[in-house]
Subunit: 143 residues, 2 copies
């Protein structure tokens, strides 16, 4: 059902077209879902401001806005676990983006492939994904 | 890499455990990504308050908070395009939920399978998913 992803490297007017369609929220942010483009795994949800969207498209890699650090966050800048952008989509009301990416290694800072590793089970929360890389190996001993 | 989904029908303490882990935002809402459990399609992103999370788990179907209508929104209540809950996950920092669902028909009010039907192409935005059901057939002539 899905067409072949268009190649990226859009021209400037295409990026302006995209930006004009995004319904940024009160804090100037939009939710962005990162999905592994081939397996379909939902890797993480993060936030983007206008500058992060521009940087993501320009650099061909996911760049988010870190709400805790209040700065642009080039995913993988410390850990090397970058997300190469394959396709960027926007939803029907413009308040969410879907980044179809190729995730190097693991998306989660805990060393799991996806940040969604905790499921609601019958008697509590369960961890359903294994740690694939030790966090110390991702970030060094300073964590 | 993913374990078998736990069966739902969690006990009350499990639901409280989940609710205590959710970092609801300023408006008391958390982002929820709906994904078709078997194909991996990302169907939509919507919002939930505490009551919507409880209702989703209790009813075994996705119930969101409609920010435009300011009320609980039982997905499919008008169109019949319900989302049966297969598994509910929370991310590592508790600010997003992943609903693995079985989507009846189409998720988008435009009649497309997913709300993410618009992609950034080289010279502008492109529609990459077809209309599968006419909106008039989903909502009647009043739209």
């Amino acid at each position: 059902m899905t067409s072949t992803p268009p190649s990226l490297a859009p021209n400037p007017s295409a990026i302006e077209d995209l930006l004009s369609r995004i319904a940024f929220g009160r804090e100037g942010l939009v939710a962005a879902v990162a999905q592994q483009h081939d397996s379909g795994e939902v890797l993480m949800v993060a936030w983007m401001n206008r500058e992060a969207v521009r940087a993501t498209v320009a650099e061909g890699q996911a760049v988010y806005w870190s709400r805790s650090r209040m700065r642009l966050w080039r995913k993988g800048e410390t850990s090397g676990q970058v997300q190469r952008l394959v396709e960027l989509r926007i939803d029907c009301d413009g308040d969410a983006l879907l980044l179809r990416v190729d995730q190097a290694g693991v998306a989660c800072h805990t060393g799991r492939r996806s940040c969604f590793f905790t499921a609601l089970g019958p008697s509590g929360l369960l961890e359903v994904l294994p740690v694939e890389v030790e966090p110390a190996d991702l970030y060094g001993k300073d964590g």
